[in-house]
Amino acid sequence: MLDCGVELGPFTLAYQTYGRLNADKSNAILVCHALTGDQFVAETHPVTGKPGWWSLMVGPGLALDTDRYFVICINVLGGCMGTTGPKSINPASGEPWALDLPVITLGDMVRAQKLLIDHLGIDKLFCVTGGSMGGMQVLQWAASYPEKVFAAIPIATAARHTAQNIAFHEVGRQAIMADLDWCGGRYLAEGRNPDRGLAVARMTAHITYLSEPALHRKFGRRLQDRKGLTFGFDADFQVESYLRHQGASFVQRFDANSYLYITRAMDYFDLAEEFGGKLANAFRSTPVRFCVISFSSDWLFPTAENRDVVHALNAAAADVSFVEIESDAGHDAFLLDEPEFRDTLCGFLNGCAEHRGLSFP
């Protein structure tokens, strides 16, 4: 049963795992992916051929050390990499769900993940972590299933989606829906694809993942393969060319309707509302050990939003650490291997492993 009151089932969850589950199943780390991420955390992506989105952090000897931990990542409900989403076939019609798929929430995504974790026979996850929308899922996990989570690392996230972030999402959705190839959402049945709309949505969103200093450092006002301005509307600047490339490659791997559904899920996320308007109530007498991490140049999920989570956890007398990492890479910093970020993850996980009584060969 979904939050919107509609029953969905049966549904499929696609997931990947790395490392080995130990005998008492106490070393499992659930990694929750972000809006346009997927379950291919630490391996070559089957569509793009590029390294997994967190391959700098997940792997043997890395911060999430797969020699020690069993790492699981599940494509979210509403996604487009194998989990049931708008491009999956609706058994009632035999056609893709498109907009007939009920609206999904973060709570729905996490409830679905919980079914899989139960299915794997894991009674308690050692850790749940993720950045951005992944961090929202971490908070939802800790609030919904505190007894199933030993440690939680919400990264570059918030307990509610802000008006500004809803606004950016709305621009993206409007770009998709304004594309004539979107066909009221039925583009798959019509044999078309709203590539231009989805690319514009991605370009807009991509700007919000970076920062002015990062853009300046990467591109400045440098021109793209030309000596001077063309006095036209071609991509004169490197930054334009970069964004166009980002948009064009994104449409190869992502479904436009999934983008609508998942952005909507983030917009609807407001953890406090679920708990009588007071965020601290979501964590009342929680046994979970938290480590909240933000990045100094992230203006999409700024430190202040992360700090609100910390304040609520303090008010609930929770065991919480909070680290702001100095970085000019903007929101996307959580995907990079900043040494301070890695040290924080390693230190926190090691401390938790000690408390959990995990020993490693």
């Binding site: 008010a315 919480v320 650490s321 909070f322 390693c346 090691n350 401390g351």
Partner: protein, 212 residues
């Protein structure tokens, strides 16, 4: 187990003397909030040797990151503004070591500590120490000593007090003084009590307090 068998013994030995005295005031297994926990030395010691459940708050992000990287539960925060987030009686001890004099509103910080913890442990450099008095009396200048190392214009310490001043504040806040320790140099000066003699001879003071 003898201290030599204990792998952490060297760390214990390295703990600053005032922190070691504070550690001695904490009941094993207690819940502790260390406000201004710096690099986490006291929290780490308390966790390893007294099995406390420890949390830290620290102003410097660099220090916070170092604490978390060594496995401690620490957040970045300001004693003046962020103690209000904690629920009442959440801890057995709220500790403030050599930080009170750097807060904007020491009275409010002390009251918050009394609210959050069953006990408060506060240490501070004593402005009533004879060397400080001589400095001011004979040189006519703001004292710069071992425990007060910065010049007036660059010191983060904006609210100096003497042991007697602090005692008055404790009474004004309705707090009972359970124990007073006085340090001269790095050594505990026993038998000075917490009165005029301590105020003259103590370079630093450590108070363990309880709500009346």
């Amino acid at each position: 187990m003898s201290p030599l068998d204990n792998p952490s013994a060297t760390q214990a030995a390295a703990l600053r003397s005032d922190l070691a005295l504070i550690a001695g005031m904490v009941e094993p297994g207690a819940r502790v909030l260390d406000i201004g926990c710096s690099d986490g030395a006291l929290l780490d010691h308390l966790a390893r040797h007294r099995q406390v459940v420890g949390r830290g708050m620290e102003l410097s992000q660099r220090n916070v990151n170092a604490c978390v990287a060594r496995g401690l539960s620490v957040i970045q925060g300001d004693a003046d503004t962020d103690l209000g987030d904690y629920p009442s009686d959440a801890f057995d001890y709220a500790i403030l070591s050599l930080t009170l004099q750097a807060t904007r509103d020491p009275r409010q910080v002390l009251e918050q500590m009394a609210r959050i913890g069953r006990h408060a442990i506060v240490s501070f450099p004593n402005f009533g120490h004879w060397r400080v008095r001589l400095h001011l009396a004979f040189r006519g200048r703001m004292p710069v000593t071992d425990s007060i190392p910065e010049a007036w214009y660059e010191t983060p310490n904006i609210h100096f007090c003497t042991i007697r001043d602090f005692t008055d504040l404790c009474h004004a806040c309705g707090m009972e003084i359970e124990e007073t320790l006085v340090l001269g140099g790095d050594r505990l000066q026993s038998g000075l009590g917490g009165g005029r003699l301590a105020n003259l001879l103590g370079e630093k003071a450590i108070f363990r307090l309880k709500k009346d």
